[in-house]
């Protein structure tokens, strides 16, 4: 059971116990709660991008030097990742995760995603290396929150408003 499902199950139980008093349909309350959680996650995604250090390719290239988490990637993987990132005014629309998963630990992936304000999509990462307690904590996030209103894995933003099935990619709500 995911964290979201657990929260919703508890909320549903609370709704059922108070339904006679409030006369509100329990399922409606669960939907409202779910919608509120989605809104919060979307707002967080927008906030993360607004505060992200890289909002275009030039800035991302400038941040790929020796002290950057991007420098932990092989040269070809770094190039592929940077080129895959699609920036829009509303946030990152798409990028490829597969190279990050193949070459980095979870916390390193988180640091790379933070550069483009996409760190909340750490929940979509699978198969990255676990070398510390922090890595293990981040890996767990994906297990408890598999669905996300922000973006889904296995799709790439092929053009404006168009998601295409693509292994290891993410198509976000900004597409």
């Amino acid at each position: 059971m995911t964290l979201r499902q657990t929260i919703l199950a508890v909320a549903a139980a609370l709704c059922v116990s108070s339904v006679s008093a409030s006369n509100i349909e329990p399922r409606l309350n669960v939907q409202m709660l779910e919608s509120k959680i989605d809104t919060m996650l979307i707002e967080q995604f927008e906030l993360d991008f607004a505060l992200a250090p890289a909002k275009n390719h030039q800035q991302l290239y400038d941040l790929s030097g020796a002290n950057s988490p991007l420098s932990l990637l092989s040269e070809s993987a770094k190039q592929r990742f940077i080129e895959s990132v699609k920036f829009t005014d509303n946030g990152v629309a798409s990028f490829y995760l597969s190279d990050l998963e193949a070459e980095l630990t979870y916390s390193q992936v988180y640091r790379v995603l933070s550069l483009i304000g996409a760190q909340s999509l750490i929940t979509k990462v699978t198969g990255a290396r676990i070398e510390s307690r922090l890595d293990a904590m981040l890996a767990k996030k994906g297990q408890v929150q598999s669905m996300s209103p922000i973006g889904e894995k296995g799709y790439y933003c092929a053009s404006k408003g168009t998601c295409r099935q693509e292994d290891g990619a993410i198509c976000t709500k900004s597409c």
């Binding site: 895959s84 799709y155 168009t162 099935q165 292994d167």
Partner: protein
């Protein structure tokens, strides 16, 4: 003019040479690295050509056949029992990773069979199989091998797999879809046929944000069009390893004016040249008359209304 012609000829030869060499492999000196490079090459080939192609049929998405051909030519003949027994843990891990990608694009039982065989070897060597089980499960689901996916669930009750609804297959000739039962407890295979007059097929997905944008627009901004869609459209989701069962039920409940179904086979939809979401296909008496893909923030109301006029729905 002659120079232009010979230049064009050179270009064509170069393209053909490039395309042939995307799949080049040295069968006598096989290595996983070599196969991995080929996988990257095929992905890159389509990655660069996708940007400006979605709206027309000039570009054809041949990733399925390309990956299938590459698998058959370069990987399958080289993975012998002896190779598997001699492989290190790291090589087996790398092989499974490459098979996962190959399965994603081929949706093939053949790839799944090799994946399962490699997992048997992993198990026989006393190594953990759990990290790979969900990928095999997804491989089975995307190839329509639901019985194998269920068997895997039974064999590994502790493992976490993506949701799979109860699927009831029926003997159907021609196009069909897996339609959600009214009780929302299972899906059932049903024939699909085009009604007379205008009809819209929307290739979509319950987790696709641009699709939700289109649905919201139909529900909130253009309720009259929403009603038209409720009578004259089918929303089809071509799953790729994940059925998104809860999301599909939720979206059908939220947007009551449409009923999203699962495509049984992509081969049922020859009109779809790019499986991108959303793709809107406009039919008149079963014949494709117009199509476009994508629903950006600003919408595509004008194109949609023009297409509806072409098929006589406006």
């Amino acid at each position: 003019m002659q120079r232009i012609k010979s230049g064009c000829g050179y270009l064509v030869v170069s393209i053909v040479f490039f395309l042939n060499n995307v799949y080049a492999c040295n069968v006598s000196n096989f290595s996983l690295e070599q196969f991995g490079n080929g996988v990257v090459n095929i992905k890159e080939k389509y990655r660069h050509s996708v940007a400006d192609v979605v709206d027309d049929a000039i570009y054809i998405d041949n990733r399925t056949t390309d990956f299938q051909a590459y698998f058959r030519k370069c990987l399958s003949p080289n993975i012998s029992e002896q190779w598997l027994q001699q492989a290190t843990h790291s090589q087996l891990h790398q092989l499974l990773y490459l098979l996962k990608t190959t399965s994603f694009y081929t949706m093939s039982s053949e790839v799944n069979a090799l994946y399962a065989k490699v997992l048997e070897v992993v198990k026989s060597k006393g190594l953990a199989v759990e990290p790979y089980l969900d990928d095999l499960h997804r491989g089975y689901v995307r190839a329509g091998e639901f019985e194998n996916a269920l068997a895997l669930e039974r064999d590994f009750p502790q493992a976490v797999f993506s949701e799979l609804p109860e699927i009831r297959r029926m003997p159907v000739v021609g196009r069909s879809v897996f339609k959600l039962d009214q009780t929302h407890r299972f899906v059932k295979q049903q024939p699909f046929s085009f009604p007379q007059d205008g009809y819209i097929v929307v290739i979509s997905s319950p987790i696709c944000n641009p699709c939700k944008r289109l649905l919201n627009w139909l529900k909130t901004d253009e309720p009259e069009l929403g009603r038209l869609f409720s009578k004259h459209s089918s929303w089809v989701f071509s799953q790729n390893g994940k059925m998104y069962w809860s999301a599909l039920k939720a979206i059908n409940e939220t947007y009551g004016f449409m009923n999203m179904s699962y495509a049984v086979s992509r081969a049922d939809w020859p009109e779809v040249t790019h499986w991108v979401t959303p793709t809107l296909l406009f039919f008149k008496d079963g014949e494709l008359k117009a199509r476009f893909a994508g629903w950006p923030q600003e919408g595509r109301a004008k194109e949609l209304k023009n297409a509806l006029k072409i098929i006589g729905l406006m």
